[in-house]
């Protein structure tokens, strides 16, 4: 039986700040336990809950395996990291912040490539000229594979990239990218453009529940109370 409702909350940055704001506005002020850098916290108005400060990616993983009951994270991470979304997760509430799109972006100088449907032909010619497939730099391996498969794009290879993805085409380590962007300014600064139909996912911060967590006992009641306050 679960004694407490465990809530995964982002541990840093704007995602954390805005999450704390949203909870506080609903009368659910989150307090960190111990030192400033403590990784546990509590909500005074909700005794049956415990807060676990984690990175957004860890929250998606913890939701997947049921280590936390509820969590705030990005839709992009939920869709990327959880292969069997419907069976594992309930999407409870879109929070309206952390908005960004996961997009396919190519060098702006590819003026012959405007749509996703241009990529396959480009890839085939590229392979003839350079003896290899087009390389796509991304941290979104699964989203990329799914999107390209749906659009009949096959002539590519993924190069996993965990940072500064938008610099890879200019550096020559990749040819195009799949990355997250909010204003498009970083893409433009790196001489990249988003394909006309290249938006894979419109993402924002969301509150999700794990279907795999232990929902017996007090956790379930605490969830009902929490949701009532957030929805009020």
């Amino acid at each position: 039986m679960a004694d407490k409702l465990i809530i995964g909350v982002p541990s840093k940055g704007r995602l954390m700040d805005r999450t704390l704001e949203v909870f506080a506005a609903a009368g659910l002020k989150i307090k960190r336990d111990g030192e400033r850098r403590g990784y546990l916290g509590h909500i005074e108005a909700l005794g049956g809950a415990e807060v676990s400060f984690l990175s957004a990616a860890e929250i998606a993983q913890s939701i997947n395996c049921g280590r936390v009951h509820l969590g705030v994270t990005g839709e992009d991470l939920i869709h990327e990291q959880i292969s069997d979304l419907e069976a594992r997760v309930s999407l409870l509430k879109a929070l309206g912040f952390g908005r960004a799109d996961v997009v396919v972006a190519v060098p702006t100088c590819w003026i012959d490539v405007s749509h996703v449907s241009d990529l396959e032909d480009t890839a085939e010619r590229f392979r003839k000229a350079h003896g290899r497939r087009l390389r796509v730099a991304t941290k979104y391996l699964n989203l990329t594979r799914r999107f390209f498969a749906e659009h009949g794009v096959t002539g590519y290879r993924i190069v996993e990239s965990l940072g500064a993805t938008e610099g890879t085409p200019a550096a020559g380590t990749a040819d195009l990218i799949v990355d997250i962007t909010s204003t498009g300014a970083t893409l433009a600064a790196n001489n990249l453009k988003v394909l006309a139909d290249g938006v894979i996912l419109k993402s924002q911060a969301i509150l999700v529940a794990s279907k795999g967590a232990d929902w017996s006992g007090p956790a379930c009641e605490a969830r009902t109370e929490l949701m009532a306050r957030l929805e009020a």
Binding site: A87, P107, I111, D112, S117, F126, A129, E150, R157, A170
Partner: protein
Amino acid sequence: MAVESSQGVALEALESQAAAMRKVFTEAGFELVAPAILQPADVFLDVVGEALRGRTYVFTDPDGTELCLRPDLTVPTARAYLARYPKADVRARYCYDGPTFRFQRGGGDTAHPREFRQVGVEAFGHTDREKMEAEIVALAIAAVEAAGLKSWRLRFGDLGLFQALLGALEMPERWRARLKRNFWRRHAFRAELERLGKGFGDGDFEVPGELLDALDPADPEAAEEKVAAHLESRGIPLIGTRSLSEITARLLDQAADRRAPPLTAQAVKTIEDYVAIKAPPKAAGARIDDLMSERGVDIGPALESYRRRLELFREAGIDLSVAEFSAEFGRNLEYYTGFVFELEVASLGAGSHIAGGGRYDNLLAAVGAPHEVPSVGLAIHTERLHLAVEEGL
């Protein structure tokens, strides 16, 4: 819950089933080989494509070498053949029996285990194509029957017919390539066909129509200069690996597309009508014949090859009353190039075929052979076969 093959299925039963099938293959002159389970990720995935990569267990060893657990046995067998005959100038018949690995959501189930045992054959270098294809299908049937399966259905398709149809219809070669490329993906294929039937206008391209109209295919150098001037006037720097001439080459195609008349309504209709054909083998042949003569399209040799294959099926004793031809029947592996088939049982449903295979003439060249080699193969999913046999089908 994850299902290990050693738990989900009785090992003994699987072993005796595989032994019965190995016997069928070796008696038919196929040498038993054991290709490597660990494969270099790069070579392998370049051939099977990123879609299957998503379901392949890939990892990096302490030396930094990227390896994978083989997601099928065809590519490893082709590599083993090439290691033995680097010139790829010898006929060979191989059979195998071993584990393959594919990611399944949530660890898989009994019909879709992530570690499964494949038994199959590959035949390299046999130039009588239809004959080898019929032999492979007959072998697949003999093998599953030796393993105890009593009833099955045969579904097959033939990329050769479709290629012949495209070849016979009036259109630029690059449009044929576009349709061929999308053939396996219904949605993308329809969209492409619609686009070619509509013709290309300003909305289809990013660059202004005036620039495209100014590009002369007969003078690629001048075209390149115009493209360079266009980029400069917009302050767009050239970055990345693709060169100005590669970008210009595709723009020249777009210029030609703009000038070309759209695919005729008759041609679009003929392709649609062909793709919709799904019928028992003999009736399908007659319908294809009728359609082509009605539309005045000559695909003689491909249709002849279809008929000859059917005749050879019959001679090999294959029961065609449980067979069906489907023009758009495809398999999801990129390397198939011609005839493709699957054996199914009703109870396991679609996507759970028991055996499958076909022709893949480009594969050996793709893994390093100096030229293309006629190749046909089949693979049997032994856990599924076992389930079907257990159910007394």
